[in-house]
Subunit: 470 residues, 2 copies
Amino acid sequence: MWRRSYHTVKALYQLGPQQEVDVKGWIQSIRLLKKIAFIDLRDGTSSKTLKIAIPIRDSSPLDLLKSIKTGQSISVSSAQWVPTPHREQPFELKVIDPLKRIQVLGDVTPQYPLQKKSHTLQFLRTLPHLKHRSNYMGSLLRFRSHVELALATFFQQEHFTKVTPPLLTSSDCEGAGELFKVDSTAASAQSYFGRQTYLTVSTQLHLEALALALSKCWTLTPCFRAEKSDTNRHLSEFWMLEAEWCFPKDVHELTLVAENMVKAVVKSCLEQKDELIPHIIPEECEPAEIVVQRWQNLLGSRCWPTITYTEAIEILATQHKKQAFPKYEPKWGSALQSEHEKWLAGEYFKSPVFVTDYPRDCKAFYMKQNDDEAGRETVACFDLLVPGMGEVAGGSMREDNLAKLVQEMDRRQMNRKGDLDWYVALRKEGSAPHGGYGLGVERLISYLYGNHNIRDAIPFHRSATGTIEL
Amino acid sequence: MWRRSYHTVKALYQLGPQQEVDVKGWIQSIRLLKKIAFIDLRDGTSSKTLKIAIPIRDSSPLDLLKSIKTGQSISVSSAQWVPTPHREQPFELKVIDPLKRIQVLGDVTPQYPLQKKSHTLQFLRTLPHLKHRSNYMGSLLRFRSHVELALATFFQQEHFTKVTPPLLTSSDCEGAGELFKVDSTAASAQSYFGRQTYLTVSTQLHLEALALALSKCWTLTPCFRAEKSDTNRHLSEFWMLEAEWCFPKDVHELTLVAENMVKAVVKSCLEQKDELIPHIIPEECEPAEIVVQRWQNLLGSRCWPTITYTEAIEILATQHKKQAFPKYEPKWGSALQSEHEKWLAGEYFKSPVFVTDYPRDCKAFYMKQNDDEAGRETVACFDLLVPGMGEVAGGSMREDNLAKLVQEMDRRQMNRKGDLDWYVALRKEGSAPHGGYGLGVERLISYLYGNHNIRDAIPFHRSATGTIEL
């Protein structure tokens, strides 16, 4: 049904020996020797390149070969597949008549900035429209695509339905306050939707309605936070994976699903590691061996450690006495700070760690309350902390008791204009114990891929101080 | 690794005979006879329900059974799997000691509005937080989830990388003008990103940059149009599938990929049809037989017809003489109207149809120009029209010639403030012939599922006159 007019690089490595092949792609490098020329061709479907060998029998192809430059797009037709069992590549493509077989499709200017060598991320970031042609950034996009499919496969196997909750909302969900507002450019006095409209910070409230219909659902959507945090862990527009389901027993079932999900992803990365690992890695990023080691460690036979917030504070307070944290003293009742999270996961546990049961006032209104002594009220929630990054995911059981939910909303003096009447009403009709979590996709990608800045984990980032360059 | 604490309905139909099983879900209906009671239980993982049989040996469970109502969530433990080869369901679950085994988890009020019977869509739309518990709407969400995974699988097999272009942009892409503007709620004089920021109407321009790095890429993202069209074919927030790739030969290769993509989806729907087709279908929607017939027709051995815009106008003009279209006369140079599109696909071809090579001035600036006589300039583009719906997808070869692109942008007096300098610059460095298309996901879903209003194809719709209810 589908006529392939040429082979991708990925296909050639998968398919093995071929008759004549046609390929198209971009020049990664060219080496011109006396009797032979070698072109490395990349096409972005794989981190690997194709080696194209061009024997030079007379001077006729020399003008063409001398004009070939890194970055040009070319088409190569009727090349011969030649096995090269003793070289790095298992095969090369031999082109006998380059004048007839090689055609330059798109030229480059003398200023074309990407060369064969490794570039720093700092340099690549100055080229937002070209940077994905580098091996490291292109591989990062392929890695992200792979992770997304692995996530979809995991949830499919677990009978979760993928849903698409709205990004335009009329409530601020978590009450975080750092919102983007939206209106039609044409709107005059009356706003487009007849009321103040925001970009969502989390789709969770809508997911709860859907979980009570579907038992299990998940989504992967952009979320938006207009916060001023300008760090390598914050984006104004980021992708969030959220899962929500009915009938979990307790918060430990939530962490089990989160752990199994990440492990399923990591397992599939290891299975495809030859395809996924970049061949050219900037110095400031984790080298391939470290990344693969990280993946293997994540799959270690044991479950990841789980501690309560109260235990975390004890551990942190003991450490603080030995060696004070630079910015914040760990104190029961205060949020864990990034420096605390990174130390716990990176130094103390040297592993991802779940921290559960945070103080009620550190968390959102919808989390299920635990039975606690007065003054030490906690909720049935968790954060997942990973080395080097801190929090990548957080979730909770949701308060499904109508009276307790309303009481908590009143205590927080939350908007009672009726915006959330539909949400409260879910507790009146066939309610069920339910819970779930949200995971910052760019944080997970950066942690698994070994680049350190989540701005590089999304093709074109939007962040607090970043202007929109393109 | 993963301890399942109960079985989903989907799992029980997949797994076959079991020892004792635990299930959780919602009461679809209860029938209380003299010596036995039957509960139909749904859990939203399947369009099917579980039949639970409760023999009544004495009066002790009567109070419980009489109190059970449609919509309640319940837990059933240690039920016996009993094959029922002569009934509609292949098995039922027998519960001997209901007082011990059945627990109501969430009650309903006497006003609970969903009952066993079929409800009209008009009625269900009045219950946006509950409507997905109905068999038809729940099945629609599972269908959409299935379609999305089928799309991901297709693109994976074709070596496309899934990417995530930004939704916050500084340009209006197609110059359509009906945009949403965005700013921080906290922004004062200076806007958050330091310039006017919009919600994207199409991610295509960014996809072109990524296709020139990856050869082939696709995305599935929300897109936003602040248009005033208030029809069953328009949403202010909708999901768009966009694919963009390098090295297609011509527009017919684009339509071939689009056709193969839809056919791959339809094929996987047919394979899962028992799971996907709803059991209770409102009268105003297509019945199951018609839907399955539609799927089978789509896979018919032939390719879908392709005509040029000029041919389409000739066909439409001939028809217009016989029987005038109610609103618009078909005329070369004007856009095809919805009534024209629906007649062409629904009445004339009775099939999806590709219409190619529209007049330049009907389409966006970036489409590749054909060689035409002066005054009849066309571009290498296509729209995909389907019966009952009209346009569901559109695409084109992109103008990769730098001079021609700049000339066309000048002719349209497009914003030359430099917003699109990066886009134009892509034609200078390793450019390649490329093209792609965008497809409205809700339109595809509604066409394939047989519901007629795309507002029902997304869980919570946002549209021109709709207030944001939740």
